[in-house]
């Protein structure tokens, strides 16, 4: 079966990113397909590469990044939500005249249409949030 997953909250503050990550791993472990993971609202904070949590804690942003690379997942950060919250890739930072970007490998920034398309193309759409 084909899944799309939506995540509405950032890492740490709410459990939704943890839950979604565990859910995504279980989906893959059972041989299903993940069509897309769409990060909306504060969910876009999952895509920063500047996070350095304490050594004994999990690093959610990196875990998502590694999962994406390993399984060739499509992790999409909503562009409007990302712009409001200061999550930028190199192109977007340049276009906005900013002096830095902070996206982590394995994520891409795109529009809300990607969420709707995920809902259309997938057999199941599961939402994680606050």
């Amino acid at each position: 079966m084909k899944f799309t997953i939506m995540i509405n909250e950032g890492p740490y503050q709410h459990q939704s990113s943890d839950s979604a990550l565990q859910f995504a791993r279980a989906v893959l472990a059972q041989g299903h397909e993940i069509f897309r993971v769409f990060f909306y609202h504060d969910g876009v904070y999952n895509g920063t590469r500047l996070s350095v949590p304490p050594a004994d804690d999990r690093q959610l942003q990196k875990e998502w990044s590694e999962l994406a690379i390993e399984h060739n997942l499509d992790l999409v950060l909503c562009i409007a939500a990302a712009q409001r919250r200061g999550i930028m890739d190199a192109d977007e930072a340049k276009r906005q005249g900013l002096d830095a970007d902070n996206i982590i490998e394995g994520f891409r920034i795109s529009g809300l249409g990607q969420l709707i398309e995920g809902g259309i193309q997938s057999d199941r759409t599961i939402v994680f949030g606050d």
Binding site: Q15, H32, V127
Partner: protein
């Protein structure tokens, strides 16, 4: 079409769990994850409301979330089933649709 309702908030803190129960249909399934797991045990002020729902709906709890909050499975209301993440995925497959009560 059977629906899987996913609830992630404590019924003692927010209205979302009650709202879910007020809208779920007979034959639907309800999965308690994250802070909603605390509703799974016997003897709370929410137990009666949940038991009422269980007369025509199936209720599940994510075992890891229950354990994290110091609640053991032997305290669960009779009839609630504990699942792991693989079981969570199965529930989303068995039910045609899902709704998250955020």
């Amino acid at each position: 079409m059977a629906m899987l309702h996913i609830v992630n908030k404590s019924p003692f803190e927010r209205v979302s769990f009650r709202s879910c129960l007020n809208h779920a249909k007979p034959g639907d399934s309800i999965l308690m994850i994250e802070d909603a797991a605390v509703a799974a045990i016997e003897g709370t002020s929410f137990t009666e409301k949940l038991k009422e729902a269980m007369t025509d709906k199936s209720v599940y709890v994510l075992g890891g979330d229950l354990a994290a909050r110091g609640l053991s499975e032997d305290r669960m209301i009779d009839g609630i089933k504990s699942v792991d993440y693989a079981g969570f995925v199965d529930l989303t497959v068995e039910n045609e649709t899902t709704q998250s009560w955020l």
